[in-house]
Symmetry: C2
Subunit: 210 residues, 2 copies
């Protein structure tokens, strides 16, 4: 089993988004040098990252943008069935649902769930909001593999349990709750405040040295 380079996988969508822009401007080739300058990622790093997709560049010209985009899509399995359910239609949940079409991310949010009766039955970008008690059943029936949790933290563990029991394979957790899942379940935690401590620490440091 060849080991996967998660750092590279995380960076690929950034390249993808930038390349999409270039494509819109009718450019045909991209050199890692230019990507490097704009994205602030080391040139060699980008070459290695692109290498994992199997795409080959042409010396002196760079990478053909159209085939490279396809290679990234293929490598990240954006053509596969990445249907997901989202639970919690608050601000973050709504943001994710609304962003889904113009972020090229390979994710398809097919339904939303909320416990608030005022929200149930409504649609956001044609994603319907359903009552919580349908969650488990629909995961099973629709063979959904990815669950997104954007509820208040206290509700997160219970929802995760339902998801796991119904056959979800990966959970994308936006709450600050430390969710516990069986070992075979893939869990990605998103901490909105992750970078803040570094930012404020460095700003304070700078103020002090003035």
């Amino acid at each position: 089993m060849k080991k996967v380079n998660n750092s590279a996988i995380r960076r690929l969508p950034r390249y993808y988004r930038e390349l999409k822009k270039w494509q819109k401007n009718k450019r045909l080739f991209a050199s890692t040098r230019e990507l490097s300058e704009i994205l602030g990622v080391h040139e060699t790093q980008i070459r290695k990252d692109l290498a994992i997709t199997g795409h080959r560049g042409i010396p002196k010209k760079g990478h053909r943008i159209d085939t490279l985009l396809k290679a990234i899509e293929k490598f990240l399995r954006w053509d596969d069935d990445n249907s997901a359910f989202i639970v919690g239609v608050g601000n973050i949940g709504t943001a994710l649902i609304k962003h889904k079409q113009y972020e090229n991310s390979g994710l398809k949010i097919v339904a939303a769930f909320d416990s608030n009766p005022a929200k149930i039955g409504k649609s956001i970008n044609s994603v319907e909001v359903l009552p919580m008690d349908k969650l488990g059943n629909l995961i099973e029936r629709m063979h959904i593999h990815i669950g997104i949790i954007t509820t208040p933290p206290h509700a997160a563990q219970k929802i995760a349990n339902t998801m796991v029991k119904s056959g979800i394979m990966g959970i994308w957790n936006f709450t600050s709750e430390q969710i516990i899942v069986p070992e075979n379940i893939i869990l990605e935690n998103v901490d909105l405040y992750y970078g803040l401590s570094v930012l404020s620490h460095r700003v304070s440091q700078k103020l002090k040295n003035k």
Copy 2:
């Protein structure tokens, strides 16, 4: 100049949040062993991270929670003036404003800005929404050091320019736009979709191997 360990700084708030919970449950001491088990961070890692705050644990007992919390606050300068302005009162912006009090993050959002006249004048959690044209002026007058950008991507660079010109020192960018700032400005980019590619890649991998 001793070098700062950014990885450790990013992890400290996680320890902090967990310890706060323990404190609420009237616990007085915390061992790195227990923290390690709950947070899934290596025991030695936690010891090293806590060491940068200068706090010392007691062999056989662990760290006194109350003094440790204070030490983390002090190290991360949460007592300093971390007043910030936020620009863009959409879903993400609103989420950040609403979360501000119960997330212990040392950040104080003191005003919001938006270009939508329908939003101007309103308040979210007693944070007033002001018109965009007041941004630069108020940054200067109120000596704000941190700016948060939660607008659509296309507006981000212009706002960053205004912020920089008015004296902002750190920018927390939630848009997918690659903002360019002078070298002396601290920039933290948040990519909501950062972990998604790894999640969906691993889920696809798993499905294939079934």
